[in-house]
């Protein structure tokens, strides 16, 4: 009887220890968690925005010149100003300009940069989120080959877009832009090689980096 009690107690202690000490986790969750712990995309993006991006804004091309090149000599536009992190028909450009706000919509400001200022040439994105990697790629500052996995590179693009919304779009909208006013901007755009035939050039979409009302 004593023996039975001893065995029961031993089994109970072992079961308790196993229950407390042994657990299962998804291997992929652990891998992803380790990768996330080792790399902070938000910090990387903030450093990029505050310390690296301002240094290349002086290379931004005038919007009128760029749109002119898109319509007349796309190959020249790509060669002189276009950037892509890999192999693509789409190139990213840093650009600057000023123009008259003709309309303010849910997705952005329709702005005319050309005379006569009756038709919009560009859409400056001022929506509640920014998709894509226009700023990351147009800067030419971030090399995908430096990262062990491309997810980090992609996360940086997403974090930069969050900064655009928080630091550029929201403060600008708080100033109450209205039609007829002049806006000065630095920004980034992504244009396909065959944009002219796709009619993408009717309204060039720009992700803003700096926005000022005159």
């Amino acid at each position: 009887m004593k023996k039975v009690g001893k065995y029961t107690l031993t089994v109970a202690v072992l079961a308790f220890l196993l229950h407390r000490g042994l657990y299962f986790e998804n291997l992929e969750d652990i891998r992803q968690q380790r990768r996330r712990e080792a790399f902070n995309a938000a910090e990387y993006a903030r450093d990029f925005w505050d310390n690296q991006l301002p240094g290349v804004l002086d290379k931004a091309v005038g919007t009128k010149e760029l749109i002119g090149l898109f319509n007349t000599d796309m190959a020249q536009a790509i060669e002189r100003y276009g950037k892509t992190p890999g192999v693509s028909r789409v190139y990213a450009y840093l650009l600057k300009g000023e123009g008259t706000i003709l309309a303010i919509g849910e997705n952005g400001l329709e702005v005319s940069v050309e005379e006569p200022q009756t038709n919009p040439d560009v859409l400056i994105e001022t929506g509640f989120y920014i998709p894509g990697n226009a700023v990351r790629d147009a800067s030419g500052l971030i090399d995908v080959s430096k990262f062990s996995d491309t997810m980090k590179f992609n996360e940086i693009g997403g974090e930069i877009n969050k900064i655009v919304v928080k630091d550029v779009i929201k403060p600008f909208l708080d100033k109450g832009p209205s039609t007829g006013r002049t806006v000065r901007f630095f920004g980034a755009t992504q244009i396909a090689r065959d944009a002219a035939e796709e009619k993408e050039l009717q309204l060039v979409r720009i992700v803003p980096i700096k926005l000022e009302l005159e």
């Binding site: 998804n26 291997l27 892509t84 192999v87 693509s88 998709p131 990262f147």
Partner: protein, 324 residues
């Protein structure tokens, strides 16, 4: 000791024999005398037409460049992949064109090849390292799915219930696609994901998984699939349930059956990857490496393009009509 040596010798002979047999079965024939060397094409699976195109194109391009190319099928099994690398290293191949099974699990294989002096060129899928492969030519899955996500939002008019079918959980492409898609779609509170499940990039598994999801969620409006094989499986499940006309299916790859299905109005959209372009680039880079070039960019993203019913005329299976 003598017995152990004997066993090792027998195993080595058996491996060599099976390697020779495989080479004979799959290598580009008739070029042995003129061959500049052997190139191995190690592919994650041949149980998916997209990867068959990837492997065949790599082999053909390597053949055109004067190499004897052999395809090895890892059957989505890292242990098999590891065996292939062992055989390729022992076989003295000049280069490896490699589609990995696991972004982390495959690193050791590439490293082993590098230590043996054999360069590896990753195609489509990456390994999570930037110092073991000679170069990695990768589909830009994230950006492709951002574009697909934007189109999804538009087609759904910003509201509705949907299901996401994920691919292989250990593959970075699975997560790059999913995260690119969600980086857009999650901004719209009217879009509710009612289920997210893995189906391993497999058509049959996708059909089974969606069939069971439909039991609990019969009122979904769309299914986003991490590849085209799963999109076809999802479409089959919906057709069997009589819902094919009501539920929109989105894929990713640019495989033949999905391109045909978009043209026929069955599948709504896919992301066109360019397996032929990537495979050719990898074979050409391997040739350049063998000739002495070393300064390749480590990771080369290849853009993915959105294919819809509106622009389907520009596309064919696995690429553009213009043969880009």
């Amino acid at each position: 000791m003598a017995r152990r040596l004997f066993v090792v010798a027998v195993v080595t002979l058996a491996l060599s024999a099976s390697g020779c047999k495989q080479k004979k079965q799959e290598s580009a024939g008739g070029q042995e005398a003129r061959s500049k060397g052997n190139i191995a094409v190690i592919v994650s699976t041949l149980n998916n037409p997209w990867f068959v195109v990837l492997a065949d194109t790599a082999k053909t391009r390597a053949g055109e460049l004067g190499y004897e190319a052999t395809i090895f099928d890892s059957q989505n099994d890292t242990a098999k992949e590891s065996d292939h690398f062992e055989n390729v290293i022992v076989g003295g191949y000049a280069a490896i064109l490699f589609n990995p099974t696991d972004a982390d699990g495959s690193i050791a294989n590439v490293k082993k090849a590098k230590e043996a002096g054999i360069p590896t060129f990753c195609i489509d899928r990456e390994v999570n390292a930037n110092d073991v492969a000679a170069a990695q030519i990768l589909s830009d899955n994230y950006a492709g799915c951002v574009e697909l996500g934007q189109y999804f939002v538009k087609k759904m008019s910003q509201k509705g219930k949907y299901v996401e079918l994920l691919g292989i959980l250990g593959d970075n492409n699975t997560w790059n696609r999913s995260k690119g898609f969600h980086s857009v779609v999650d901004n719209y509170p009217g879009l509710k994901m009612v289920a997210q499940q893995g189906a391993e990039f497999d058509r049959t598994k996708a059909m089974d998984v969606l069939e069971s999801i439909l039991q609990a969620n019969p009122d979904i409006d769309a299914v986003f699939c991490g590849n085209d094989a799963m999109a076809m499986g999802a479409y089959q499940a919906l057709a069997a349930a009589g819902k094919a006309d009501k539920v929109m299916v989105f894929g990713f790859d640019g495989a033949k059956d999905v391109i045909d299905s978009i043209r026929d109005g069955k599948i709504v959209a896919t992301g066109m990857q360019f397996p032929k372009r990537m495979a050719r680039m990898a074979a050409e880079q391997a040739d350049e490496y063998i000739k002495g070039k070393r300064d390749f960019p480590q990771k080369i993203p290849v853009a993915v393009e959105l294919v819809t019913r509106e622009n389907i005329a520009k596309y064919t299976a696995y690429g553009r009509q213009s043969n880009e």
